[in-house]
């Protein structure tokens, strides 16, 4: 098409039109082509209006202006305004050595060497800037079309600068048939900083997976911090659902965000399944629908008993794909009954909802803020009693926080891998207590019974504790939990406070207390509110469980100065509690078992529980903090616990080291750039 186009004829016709316009209007330049300006009677024309003054940088009176730093890497064309103009950018590039130019600019410059030679087929490539901008026709006919479509002075300067950049006398590339030159090798000197930076990032992020010697950074807490009420409410709202409830779960993330969100999504689903509630999975992303089914498939594989596995369209529902993004989500909000009738496989689900108002909870797992906006603005208003729990990636967290702060029916956000770890810890602390206790020897070496206790026959009066045979899946999950704990968590009780008899407290208390029953050293929580039971005797370590006023725990030991007690939890683990929060007591085994059994139903705990009701009438500044209910006995705790958490901690440490490497690369890279620019300036001034 270009070959048929006759530039000469075109320029002559434009020139004729321009001349006519100039003669008729008395105007020059490009304005000759504009229609006459309208003039209202009695008002001056536009030409009479005062010109708009050029905007200068606004200054706040009384404040000194911002200090001006030297413009690094710029030699000429520096603009006075804060916003760099195109000429600034080009000037910055033009003042640089060729080897520092961006790859594309360098390719453009090298291509211009081709155009310097006579080219049999002009205007074939966009990269032939010389030929397009200054065509032979333009040069041969000065005052022709050039003056008709004249560039402004600033534009001409920019063209000159561009020509300066790309028009350098490099070696001719005419021999390569007009193709782009090959990019510089990644092993060349100019690519070395990039290569080194990438290598550093990869190395630092990989080290925690190779060796535990690079375990940097503290693990996330076992509970959400006190200032994250909304995230705690997220967990507790999900913890309050019952076996009859349906929970709408929106999988709005694609495979690219799977590494960031899969763990969180699996934990949320496990939490729902453990409560015997049924998730209704929807998505406006077709791949996410398939992915959600695969995650449930993996959860199912972790259940050894085939009869206990989750069944589609009975224990969970993957509903049909919602096409059209925002429109699909709107359809869900308007016609939820229709959406819920058909599964992703096109089969009837048998669900008979009327509208979204039949649901209490919706969980949104998303990687971007657009989906959150759609759900908060379209779905939430349609569900009168619906609360939206938001789980996001790091990128969507700021916007999710805005929604959680502004709308009282939005909770969260729980975001990223660190929060997923915290969520998993909370789940374990909450549900592992419901699992049957594994054999004691699997956790720690049982202390030998005292010889005198056996000798006087007291032990013979004590009925042996009934051995609870844990189910296979329960044992495997509990042991997996123990395997993730540091070895110090199962340390031996100290000799000074070791119990002197053998009965292990169990939840099923069948032993009849007798007058000869030996006593145990225990602690009773006397603090007025719940206390943290930690993994190690320090307030910065993880919280394994929560203790409530009146709860009794067997004492296993104490630290050196007696400020912490090591206690046995009902799930077989041991934890530490600060001594000033508890009081020592001598109790019998049956009292201890009774105290632990009553702990779950202590009046203090009951008072602390705030039933939901879903009325959302709290004040705006009142923290929306819902207390977790005790898991019900009908729950399926084995579903709440991940079987394999071995990769979680290395991933967190890799994130820490990777971020550290990123900071190093950014700081060193910018320092080098600044240093080089200063040296160049110094050499040029010399």
């Amino acid at each position: 098409m270009n070959e048929e186009f006759n530039w000469l004829e075109y320029s002559e016709s434009v020139e004729e039109t321009a001349t006519e316009a100039e003669e008729s209007s008395g105007r020059r330049g490009f304005r000759r082509f504009l229609p006459d300006r309208p003039k209202l009677p009695g008002l001056p024309g536009w030409a009479g209006l005062p010109r708009r003054p050029r905007l200068s940088r606004p200054r706040i009176p009384g404040l000194p202006g911002l200090p001006r730093l030297p413009r690094l890497g710029r030699g000429r064309g520096a603009s006075e305004s804060a916003q760099p103009s195109a000429s600034d950018l080009l000037g910055g590039q033009a003042n640089r050595p060729v080897e520092e130019l961006d790859d594309r600019l360098r390719a453009l410059r090298e291509r211009s060497g081709v155009s310097a030679a006579p080219d049999p087929a002009p205007n074939q490539s966009l990269f032939d800037v010389d030929e397009v901008l200054v065509s032979p026709a333009f040069q041969r006919k000065p005052g022709g079309v050039i003056s008709a479509v004249a560039l402004s002075k600033a534009q001409q300067q920019q063209v000159e600068m561009l020509k300066d950049i790309v028009g350098g006398p490099l070696q001719s590339q005419a021999g390569n048939g007009g193709r782009l030159p090959r990019p510089a090798s990644v092993f060349s000197l100019s690519a070395a900083p990039r290569l080194l930076g990438t290598a550093l990032l990869v190395l630092m992020a990989s080290l925690p997976f190779v060796s535990s010697d690079f375990a940097e950074g503290e693990l996330p807490p076992a509970d959400f911090h006190d200032d994250r009420h909304s995230a705690t409410s997220f967990y507790n709202l999900l913890d309050n659902i019952s076996g009859d409830d349906y929970v709408l779960v929106a999988f709005e993330y694609g495979p690219a965000a799977a590494g960031e969100l899969d763990l969180l999504a699996e934990l949320l689903l496990r939490h729902i399944f453990a409560q015997r509630a049924r998730p209704l999975i929807v998505s406006s992303n077709p791949i996410a629908v398939v992915h959600a089914r695969n995650i449930i498939r993996d959860i199912n594989r972790s259940i050894p008993d085939a009869d206990a596995r989750l069944t589609a369209d009975k224990d969970y529902y993957v509903l049909r794909y919602l096409p059209g993004g925002a429109l699909g989500i709107r359809e869900l909000s308007e016609n939820f009954a229709d959406v819920a009738r058909v599964s992703a496989r096109g089969q009837r689900t048998g669900l008979d909802f009327i509208s979204l108002q039949d649901l209490k909870l919706a969980v949104l797992i998303t990687e971007n803020s657009e989906d959150l906006r759609h759900w908060a603005e379209q779905v939430l208003p349609k569900g009168r009693n619906l609360a939206l729990l938001v789980a996001t990636g790091y990128a969507a967290q700021p916007l999710a926080q805005v929604y959680a702060d502004s709308l009282e029916k939005v909770f969260g956000p729980v975001y990223g891998i660190r929060d997923a770890y915290t969520y998993g810890e909370k789940l374990q602390a909450n549900f592992s207590g419901l699992l049957p206790s594994p054999p004691k020897q699997a956790l720690a070496v049982e202390p030998e019974p005292a010889p005198d206790a056996l000798a006087d026959g007291a032990a013979s009066d004590i009925a042996p504790a009934p051995q609870v045979e844990p189910s296979r899946e329960a044992e495997s999950t509990t042991l997996a939990l123990v395997a993730t704990l540091p070895a110090t968590a199962t340390s031996q009780p100290t000799a000074t406070t070791a119990p002197t008899d053998t009965p292990a407290p169990t939840a099923t208390n069948t032993a009849t207390p007798t007058a000869t029953e030996a006593t145990l050293l225990a602690v009773e929580i006397t603090a007025p509110q719940r206390v943290n039971l930690r993994r190690r005797p320090t307030t910065v370590d993880d919280i394994l469980a929560l203790g409530y006023p009146g709860d009794l725990y067997e004492v296993l030991g104490a630290n050196g100065d007696g400020s912490w007690y090591q206690i046995a939890l009902s799930n077989g683990l041991d934890a530490w509690v600060a001594a000033f929060l508890v009081e020592e007591r001598q109790v019998t085994a049956s009292e201890l078992a009774g105290g632990q059994a009553n702990a779950s139903a202590s009046p203090q705990r009951e008072r602390a529980v705030m039933r939901l009701g879903f009325n959302f009438r709290l004040g705006k500044n009142q923290p929306r903090y819902y207390q977790a209910l005790t898991p019900e006995t009908g729950d399926r705790p084995e579903l709440a616990l991940l079987r394999d958490r071995s990769l979680e901690i290395p991933r967190l440490q890799a994130m820490t080291l990777g971020t550290l490497a990123a900071v190093l690369v950014i700081v060193i890279g910018n320092l080098l750039v600044a240093l080089r620019a200063l040296l160049r300036r110094r050499s040029s001034s010399a």
């Binding site: 940097e216 996330p220 590494g259 096409p323 359809e331 900071v663």
Partner: protein, 216 residues
């Protein structure tokens, strides 16, 4: 432009305008029974007014779902035509498509290829984005060597350091938290406002016929 073309353009603009106004009014009135003074029967009236919008939006959703099928078909045709000119990657794409369909059909809906192939590849691409961003961050001062560039680098470094779970950096975490809570939150709210205004503007342009993307 011929007379027929001009009539077609006018007709398509008219249809778009009519549909747009219908949906807008239907949504506006249909979702708000209170507009009718909560009189007896106002709920029923509002429901009836909402019907046109529901019907039209459902049609759009169906068309969009069909467009996926059309998109797949188009992709296949394009790559088959490219295959004729000897494009290797088109052959790889078509072979992958055929293999995936074969796998899904013969293995009774097994979607493990998604987990085994697509997830790792897309996750790896997301990780590459991190490397690119860090590399870009290391060259900020070469592109913009003034106070604002320096401020940008300082904030990035501060937020990154503040996110690290290291006890030595605890003082920075307070600064980082403040940045995330106040300026970033303010920016997010501003973005929401901007998006809302943009949606209103784009809707008005389409309704007034200034944007005629439906003409292709």
């Amino acid at each position: 432009m011929g007379r027929g073309q001009r009539f077609g353009a006018f007709l398509s603009a008219l249809v778009a305008f009519a549909v747009g106004v219908t949906v807008m009014l239907s949504l506006l009135l249909g979702d708000n029974p209170a507009l009718f003074g909560n009189q007896p029967g106002s709920d029923e009236l509002a429901r009836r007014l909402a019907l046109p919008a529901d019907a039209l939006l459902r049609l759009v959703a169906i068309f969009l779902a069909l467009s996926i099928v059309i998109g797949i078909a188009n992709l296949l045709f394009v790559h088959v035509s490219r295959l004729k000119s000897g494009k290797f990657y088109s052959a790889v794409l078509l072979a992958s498509f055929g293999f995936t369909v074969f796998w899904y059909v013969t293995r009774q809906g097994d979607t493990s290829l998604l987990e085994a192939v697509q997830l790792p590849i897309e996750s790896a691409l997301a990780a590459l984005l991190f490397v690119s961003l860090v590399h870009g961050g290391s060259r900020v001062m070469s592109k913009r060597g003034d106070l604002w560039g320096l401020l940008f680098v300082a904030v990035v470094v501060l937020v990154l350091l503040g996110s690290l779970p290291l006890a030595e950096l605890a003082p920075l975490q307070a600064w980082s938290d403040w940045l995330m809570r106040i300026p970033v939150s303010a920016g997010a709210r501003a973005m929401l406002l901007g998006i809302a205004l943009g949606i209103v503007t784009a809707g008005l342009r389409a309704l007034l016929g200034q944007d005629r993307s439906y003409r292709g």
